[in-house]
């Protein structure tokens, strides 16, 4: 009841995921996705000298440039004057600078993206002697927003569970409500169970609303079983609520609890593959990510929603979530105190 009457929290829980999905759908529209920026000098009469040691200049062929111009996801920006273009290249605001008339290009040796774009430029030439043959693969293309959607649902569950339980219990303890409960026949485990059940119920409702809304607006589909998804979200929600209970076990300081919750939620948000894949990340980052409940929740949700996985196929994620839930629930229950004294 408190949740539904707290309009600010209620609105945030429902509106925020929609705003994220809409924003990212617009920002990462496939047609507008630009990976690299290449400056093109269109007035060859300008002076083209430079004295930066970081900048190197090389020659290109006409056909190289023509092939290169067909490359997708590159923004070709025209410049009339060489100097400002060179300055942008030096500051890595463009990744490569090319003059098709003088048949030269410039890159910054310290720019990783410049290195990649140069390789793209050089690879744009057909080479009959190449040893690699193209093979086409079949599969459903997953737009970024659709890939992101399970992560947003998981993140929403995380924030709602952590702050909805953790922060609330700490606030109750601070203002004496828990103290009032402690002198009734209500047992600690009954209170905790009520918190868990009520929060899971709210998570179900808010997640359902967001899921249905996004499905209707954006046409997202769940390629796996909805029941499997429900089971996964239930387990994931339970694990998050249990984390919240650990945070709220004894503290009566809202500032301290807020700090701890931020310390937990922000790394989880960025290292659980909510926004981007951790492929290519350092091994210790991936190891750390494996210990976060949100990682398994998001991974499992993506497998169900995007790949149509069954519960059996995500048993690893389910086992990890179940294990973490048990661990955090026991820790939170054992350490729970009505009062901070």
């Amino acid at each position: 009841m408190e949740f539904f009457r707290d309009r600010a929290a209620y609105g945030w829980n429902l509106l925020f995921p929609f705003m994220i999905i809409i924003g990212f759908s617009v920002m990462f529209n496939e047609d507008q996705q630009i990976m690299y920026k290449v400056g093109v000098i269109i007035d060859s009469s300008t002076t083209q000298t430079h004295d930066s040691e970081d900048i190197s200049v090389s020659a290109i062929e006409d056909h190289q440039y023509r092939n290169f111009r067909k490359t997708k996801y590159i923004d070709f920006i025209e410049f009339n004057v060489f100097s400002p273009a060179l300055e942008k290249l030096t500051h890595h605001r463009i990744d490569l600078l090319i003059n098709p008339r003088s048949k030269h290009y410039w890159i910054s040796r310290t720019s990783p993206k410049g290195y990649i774009v140069e390789r793209l430029l050089k690879a744009g030439v057909e080479n009959r002697k190449t040893l690699y043959k193209e093979k086409k693969i079949s599969g459903r293309e997953i737009p970024y927003s659709e890939w992101l959607f399970p992560g947003i649902l998981g993140m929403n569950i995380m924030f709602s569970a952590l702050y909805g339980v953790g922060y609330t219990v700490v606030r109750y303890r601070k203002n004496g409500v828990l103290k009032r409960f402690s002198v009734t026949p209500l047992k600690p485990y009954e209170f905790l169970a009520a918190q868990i059940i009520s929060r899971l119920y709210l998570l179900f409702i808010t997640t359902l609303i967001v899921f249905l809304g996004c499905t209707l607006i954006f046409g997202f589909k769940c390629h796996g079983s909805y029941l499997s998804l429900l089971a996964l979200f239930f387990l994931g929600g339970f694990s998050m609520v249990s984390v919240g209970l650990v945070v709220a076990a004894r503290s009566s300081s809202e500032e301290f609890a807020n700090g701890i919750l931020n310390l937990i939620s922000w790394p989880m948000m960025f290292l659980s593959e909510v926004w981007f894949s951790l492929e290519g990340a350092k091994p210790w980052v991936k190891t750390f990510s494996a210990f976060l409940p949100l990682t398994h929740l998001v991974d499992g949700a993506r497998r169900i929603m995007n790949d149509g996985a069954t519960l059996l196929e995500i048993k690893y994620q389910l086992l990890m979530l179940a294990g973490m839930s048990l661990l955090f629930f026991i820790a939170g229950s054992v350490s729970f105190k009505w009062n901070s004294n």
Binding site: R180, V183, T184, P185
Partner: protein, 294 residues
């Protein structure tokens, strides 16, 4: 057995302070027992240890002759000194929530009537006044139709009208045969509501008994208040005790007539003199050497 609560040699020590230092008393059924003392005397700590909020350092607490257990929790109602109400709930919902926590429940309509909550039943807890909040907290303490009720400074911070309203409720509770334990630093409140009082200071009970009997035994005289600057020699010439106040002096003469005569002889200005019977505050002053509200 008529003894509802027995406290034996209760202590509660903290690293730097002995908050409760050997407190003992017993409370009979149906009376209002008052724990009176200044802020920091140990009243709230004593009550909270008895209520079970915190464990004692040593001592024994018996409810109906037995250690506190499930029956204690079911039959005791408590109103704390400082408690917030659950946010986003109405008055009625709050009462229902707490009633549902117990195996025994008060009649809801009677509860509302006793505590004058009719007009605010559907009000959000965040939007009720201080006096209304105290009445709701009292109603929560009565939600389980308790046998023993703890009221920790129930009228602190209330205006005089709200205070008297609450006194009426406590008197009403007493008529139903409930036992009340009240802590307060308002001597008027203790005198009006309590059948037995225990005066606490520095964690110890320094006097206990019916208020009238305590006053009769220890403080049965008159207090003369002079809003004048009277020198010490003059005051010492009057038989009795005196204490200097911020804007005058209070004299507790052994003989009122002799005192007035002496003051007149010394041409002390008596136009602003007031005379009253001694009260619990005077008793506290006599016992501790300082005022109750210090």
């Amino acid at each position: 057995m008529n003894t509802v609560l027995e406290v034996k040699n209760l202590t509660k020590f903290y690293p730097e302070v002995k908050a409760v230092n050997g407190v003992s008393f017993s409370i009979e059924k149906g009376i209002c027992f008052g724990l009176l003392g200044p802020n920091g005397a140990g009243k709230t700590t004593t009550i909270e240890v008895i209520e079970g909020i915190m464990p004692p350092t040593s001592g024994q607490i018996l409810y109906r002759g037995k250690s506190r257990g499930t029956r204690f929790r079911e039959e005791v109602g408590i109103q704390f000194q400082n408690t917030e109400l659950p946010a986003f709930l109405t008055v009625k919902e709050t009462l229902e929530t707490f009633r549902n926590l117990y195996g025994r429940e008060s009649d809801m309509d009677e509860l509302i009537e006793i505590c004058y909550l009719q007009e605010i039943l559907n009000h959000d807890n965040r939007k009720i006044s201080g006096g209304q909040k105290q009445r709701l907290l009292l109603a929560m303490a009565l939600a389980n139709d308790p046998e023993l009720i703890f009221l920790d400074e129930p009228t602190t911070g209330l205006d005089p009208q709200s205070r008297r309203h609450l006194w009426d409720i406590v008197r009403n509770i007493k008529t139903k045969g409930k036992t009340v334990v009240l802590t307060t630093h308002y001597m008027e409140e203790a005198q009006i509501l309590c059948d037995i009082i225990a005066i606490m200071d520095y964690g110890k009970i320094i006097a206990s008994g019916p208020p009238e009997k305590l006053l009769e035994e220890q403080c049965n005289g008159i207090a003369v208040i002079l809003h004048e600057n009277v020198d010490e020699n003059t005051l010492n010439s009057i038989q009795g005790n005196w204490i200097r106040m911020k804007d005058g002096v209070e004299i507790y003469p052994e003989n009122l007539n002799d005192c007035i005569r002496t003051l007149m002889d010394l041409e002390i200005n008596l136009s602003k003199m007031t005379v009253r019977p001694q009260n619990l505050e005077d008793l506290f002053l006599k016992l501790t050497g300082k005022r109750l509200r210090a």
